[in-house]
């Protein structure tokens, strides 16, 4: 064997060195092996870790697809009130437009008629990096703009808040700003819950009943139109739980199109405006009088023969009876004089404390923001006590009054109003304002006002409505305005076992031919309550029954003329000959 390449003999390692070199090689090999082992163990460890603890990536993404960016709002029956959808938006990057800009502006003006050609031309030459042409565009529009073939125009799907019922319940729902934050209403009140990633997958149920809300709003707006009123407000309240079943304020706005709405219409007249609500306060005064023993018997009579002069103040009656009136008659004829006398007997302390118990001294209890503070009298003079008894000199929101009426008829327990759905049996305990017996008496009296008194037009057949009219003059510069009033009708039904309070208020209605020029509540607000109850009563679970009613037998003998205005059958005799075909005349 020929050694071709052999190290020079002098370089050959000697046997002793060879041994040492082997040891060094072994050590190096060992270090290398250890390094490899460490590397492998790191990889294996990581794999194990992944296998044991890592979440499968796909599972979360599939679920995430179904969770909206902002939670839904639904009504008490599950109908959607607000949803977040993926809507198309069309935008343009003027610096990327490659076609003729003037031509593009012309075509845009033809496809997107929101702006003129000149405006589009200005927008395209403005030098802005990106501008929205249209948010919330319909697919047809997107296709049409796409057909223009301009690469500078971009289309994207963006999450947008949609209110399927448009302006229905707009004041309750509120709206979002450009960044998707709640600005007013429940969108603001529930902002945290709706955007919380853990909770937004579950829709939030409000206490509203969409059908009742629709009926209330349509009746209110019909009345507002026919009486050319400045505004209107209405609320339906569950007396047992304080849930607001419907709340409407007119004029309203469309939360889908905030930019096109009049900002003045954002005011919620039910919670953000205070009014002197007039005679609707009389049942409250009467309840205080019965509760405190000032009026021990329904037959106790008060002098209403002549206007009452207190200091420089004169209290008159609108429907002057010029005789002594007992308690039911005072309410039926809505006598200011008799009510003032009762309040005088009650005195300052009791009146004030009772109003405080009903929460009339603080902002209304509800989730909405921006609630108005009542105009609470600074000093309770004798005249103040007397005028507040019939709703002048104290201004509260309509919601205050609705809650107070709920307390009057539900057995005497005041509960805060709420817009969150309350599960049956979970109603708040509330606070007792009047006794059970007083409440029962108030039901009788309120029913009598409708069957025998000023509220006759609110008597929805079969629903046993009870309530009180209130026509208060609007305070203006230099005293009350004679020709403008706030007409309110506060009602509860069915009176034998009250379920709901319905309150309707019209701001400055003008009498028309149907009301023979009257603009008082009995002619304007009461018919609205009637129609609202007719339309919603059955839906809300109240079975109309003309054979049932609250027993008023112990009170009717006290009435001077005990003839009910709305006789259940008597009215039919006159009209029996004329059968009206459906749709012939409404």
């Amino acid at each position: 064997m020929t050694v071709l390449v052999a190290p020079a003999p002098r370089n050959r390692t000697r046997p002793g060195n060879r041994q040492a070199g082997l040891a060094v090689a072994h050590v190096r090999l060992m270090i290398l092996a250890l390094l490899f082992a460490a590397g492998i163990s790191v990889i294996v460890g990581r794999l194990l870790l992944l296998a044991l603890f890592a979440e499968p990536a796909a599972a979360t993404s599939v679920n995430a697809m179904l969770v909206p960016l902002r939670g839904d709002l639904i009504d008490r029956n599950g109908a959607p009130l607000a949803r977040t959808i993926d809507a198309w938006s069309i935008g343009v990057r003027p610096d990327k437009v490659i076609g003729d800009k003037a031509e593009l502006a012309r075509m845009l003006a033809a496809t997107l008629p929101g702006k003129s050609e000149a405006e589009y031309a200005k927008l395209l030459s403005s030098g802005a990096r990106f501008t929205y042409l249209q948010r919330r565009a319909v697919p047809e529009l997107v296709a049409a703009v796409h057909a223009l073939g301009e690469p500078g125009i971009e289309f994207a799907r963006e999450p947008q808040r949609l209110y399927p019922q448009a302006s229905l319940g707009a004041h309750v729902l509120g709206y979002l700003d450009f960044d998707g934050k709640g600005v007013t209403g429940m969108e603001l009140a529930l902002d945290k819950q709706l955007t919380d990633p853990a909770m937004r997958g579950k829709p939030v149920a409000l206490s509203l009943d969409l059908r009742a809300q629709a009926a209330l709003e349509s009746e209110l707006s019909a009345a507002m139109t026919s009486f050319t009123a400045k505004g209107a407000a209405g609320v339906i309240l569950d007396v047992a739980s304080g849930e607001v079943v419907a709340m409407a304020s007119l004029p309203t706005f469309n939360p889908n199109n905030i930019k096109g709405s009049n900002p003045e219409h954002f005011r919620n007249n039910v919670t953000q405006s205070v009014y002197e609500l007039g005679s609707t306060f009389k049942p409250l005064t009467m309840a205080f009088a019965i509760e405190t023993g000032v009026a021990p018997s329904m037959a106790k009579r008060y002098d209403a023969t002549a206007p009452l002069q207190v200091g420089g103040f004169r209290i008159r009656d609108d429907h002057a009876q010029k005789r002594w009136l007992n308690i039911p008659e005072t309410l039926i004829h809505s006598s200011n004089i008799a009510t003032a006398r009762i309040a005088d007997e009650l005195g300052k302390d009791r009146m004030e404390s009772m109003f405080r118990k009903l929460g009339f001294d603080s902002r209304p209890d509800i989730e909405l923001s921006g609630n108005a503070a009542p105009l609470w009298p600074k000093y309770w003079a004798r005249t103040t006590v007397m005028t507040t008894a019939y709703g002048h000199g104290i201004a509260v929101t309509p919601l205050h009054l609705a809650s107070a009426y709920a307390a009057l008829v539900n057995g005497g327990v005041w509960r805060p109003a709420t817009l969150r759905k309350i599960e049956p049996g979970k109603a708040p305990a509330g606070r007792r304002v009047i006794s059970e017996a007083t409440s029962a008496r108030m039901r009788q009296l309120m029913r009598l006002i409708v069957t025998h008194g000023t509220g006759g037009k609110a008597d929805a057949p079969g629903y046993r409505v009870g309530g009180k009219t209130g026509t208060a003059e609007v305070p203006g510069a230099g005293g009350y305005k004679r020709n403008q009033n706030v007409s309110t009708f506060a009602a509860a039904f069915p009176m034998d076992a009250p379920r709901y309070v319905v309150l309707v208020m019209l701001d400055s209605p003008v009498g028309n031919a149907q009301t023979f020029g009257f603009s008082t509540a009995g002619w304007t607000a009461a018919p609205v309550v009637n129609r609202v109850i007719m339309r919603t009563g059955a839906m809300l679970g109240v079975v109309p029954d003309e054979t049932r009613d609250v027993n008023v037998a112990d009170v009717t003998p006290l009435l001077w003329k005990a003839e009910p205005k709305n006789k259940p059958k008597g009215a039919a005799v006159a009209a029996a000959t004329r059968i009206v075909a459906p749709g012939a005349d409404e």
Partner: protein, 217 residues
């Protein structure tokens, strides 16, 4: 000795056969899992579509719009107390078309209908009408198709209102016979089908159906 050598080969062969087998199983599992995921994703997409369509339907058939249609065409009324019967006895003794009280029944009639257009001048009504026509601009709808939707919905609504109370025998039969004189409105109701299934809109529908069928194939 030879067996020992074969033993090693056997192990090798076993590894060669079993390892790909194992890999095959795991890859099949992975494939199946991917398919399941794809189905899940398809379900999620379908849910999303359902939500989208539901929203669109609700928006088109919003209550203000339904009420307007009811006022114009359907003329359904709010139920009157006589239409609710408290018990079986009441149902048995029901004489729908006899006796007085007929006029009363009609006098109490409340037809939900939108606010009249005459009010369009007032600022409030402007907002309202802006709502009612196309509240949100989700795809403009052909008027005919929209009406069909509304008709179905309004028809269902009163029935649902009654059906929700099983203890009440809903006296649907109470509705008295209509007088023979045909008003224009009644004719409009009678001709409703014609306007809904006009040739043009029907043709559009069928075109859409065919297009969809082709795509599905």
């Amino acid at each position: 000795m030879a067996i020992k050598a074969l033993n090693g080969l056997g192990w090798y062969a076993a590894g060669l056969i079993v390892a790909p087998g194992c890999y095959l199983v795991s890859s099949m599992v992975a494939a199946e899992r991917t398919r399941v995921e794809a189905v899940e994703r398809a379900i999620a997409t379908a849910h999303k579509d359902i939500r989208q369509l539901e929203t669109e339907f609700d928006t088109r058939a919003n209550l203000a719009q339904l009420e307007r249609w009811n006022g114009e065409v359907m003329r359904y009324t709010a139920p009157t107390p006589q239409q609710f019967l408290a018990s079986d006895t009441a149902l048995a003794s029901l004489r729908a078309l006899e006796g007085d009280g007929m006029a009363e029944r009609y006098a109490a009639m409340v037809v939900p209908e939108g606010v009249p257009d005459a009010a369009a001048e007032t600022p409030q009504a402007v907002a309202a009408s802006a709502v009612a026509t196309t509240p949100v601009k989700v795809a403009a709808v052909k008027a005919d198709a929209g009406k069909a939707v509304a008709a179905v919905v309004t028809k269902a609504a009163p029935a649902a209102a009654v059906a929700s109370k099983p203890q009440l025998a809903a006296a649907a039969a109470v509705k008295p016979v209509k007088p023979a004189v045909k008003t224009r409105r009644e004719e409009a109701v009678a001709m409703l089908d014609r306007s809904l299934l006009k040739d043009s809109s029907f043709g559009d529908l069928m075109k859409g159906v065919r297009a969809e069928a082709r795509r599905a194939r």
